[in-house]
Amino acid sequence: MMAAVIAWLRAFAAFWYDFVVGDDWRVAVGVACALAITYGVSRTTIPAWWILPLAVVLLLPLSLWRVARSKSR
């Protein structure tokens, strides 16, 4: 019974991880970091709107590059 519950919980967690995070966890971590930096900068007098676009410009090519490099080998 306990084993079945654990297996169900694992499957449930795996489903939500796959649903939210997807294939590349680094993208999710990068977005979380960029949002945290945006929040920090927004508390100062420096404009903070550019941080998330910059994160996109960095994260997307990096994620693509990882796949391209592994496929090109």
Binding site: A32, Y39, V57, S63
Partner: protein
């Protein structure tokens, strides 16, 4: 964001999900048993309605800034994943999504699976295949509808767009009783990836406390910039693409993008 833009964004995103769900239900019904596949479809719709009933008021009651932070973060992660896959497909690094092939694979797997009766469900395989497919794709429809609708204070219009997309796709799918292979799904996924990334960037930054130059007028600029950047990446990756398939796929996306 205008009403038209909200409707278009939700409609196109939900159309993509509906096409995938329809392919799975059609495969379950055609290869196995329509009654069990239909029970699976209805069961998933009941679960989705329950999720909407619970999540809808909860999401609506969140303060707008907190909502935009959470929704922006999720949309941005979703959007980057969609865009990543779309770019990889457009450049030949990943196989192009082919509903015809997926349908054939599902049919072959369905023919091979043993028949099992459980309760009032005559064919458990057809039931679970249909239930899981509709629930998974439906969750994304619910997420997109709730987040876009709540952010723009128009859940009604977002719901109408989502229901319209599902009804149109399901009606066509069940009328022709075949996978909707002629829907330009890969190009649509590319567009949805751009929209999710653009909206996620805009709302996420706002939720985290940033103020965009020009306020709401910055949103279309962000979406356009994401689109340009994504097409630029397609062009760059095509140069190192692994197969001739890349040019065909990228051409499809380029053509669709200019329509």
């Amino acid at each position: 964001m205008t009403h038209g833009a909200l409707f278009f964004a939700v409609f196109i995103a939900c159309t993509v999900e509906a096409v995938e769900a329809t392919t799975i239900v059609l495969a379950a019904g055609t290869a196995r048993e329509w009654r069990s596949a239909t029970i699976g479809l209805l069961g998933a719709l009941v679960v989705l309605a329950g999720i909407v009933a619970v999540l809808g008021p909860a999401v609506s009651s969140l303060p707008l800034r907190g909502l935009r932070l959470i929704v922006g973060a999720l949309l941005l992660v979703f959007g980057l994943q969609w865009l990543r896959k779309a770019i990889l497909r457009a450049t030949g690094f990943k196989a192009v999504h082919d509903e015809q092939r997926i349908f054939a694979d599902e049919i072959a797997a369905a023919h091979a699976a043993p028949r099992q009766e459980r309760g009032f469900v005559g064919d458990w395989y057809a039931f679970t295949l249909s239930f899981k497919g509709v629930l998974l794709e439906g969750l994304e429809v619910v997420f997109i509808t709730l987040t876009f609708g709540t952010n723009e204070h128009d859940i009604g219009l977002a719901s109408i767009a989502a229901i319209a997309a599902v009804v149109v796709v399901a009606a066509i799918g069940f009328a022709v009783r075949a996978p909707l292979a002629r829907v330009p799904e890969n190009a649509m996924k590319f567009v949805v990836g751009i929209m999710l990334t653009g909206f996620g960037t805009f709302w996420g930054a706002e939720g985290a406390g940033a103020q965009w130059p020009g306020n709401d007028a910055a949103l279309p600029v962000v979406v356009a910039a994401v689109a340009l950047f994504a097409f630029g990446l397609v062009v760059m990756l095509r140069r190192v693409a692994p197969s001739p398939l890349a040019e065909t796929a990228a051409d499809q996306v380029s053509v669709a993008g200019h329509r």
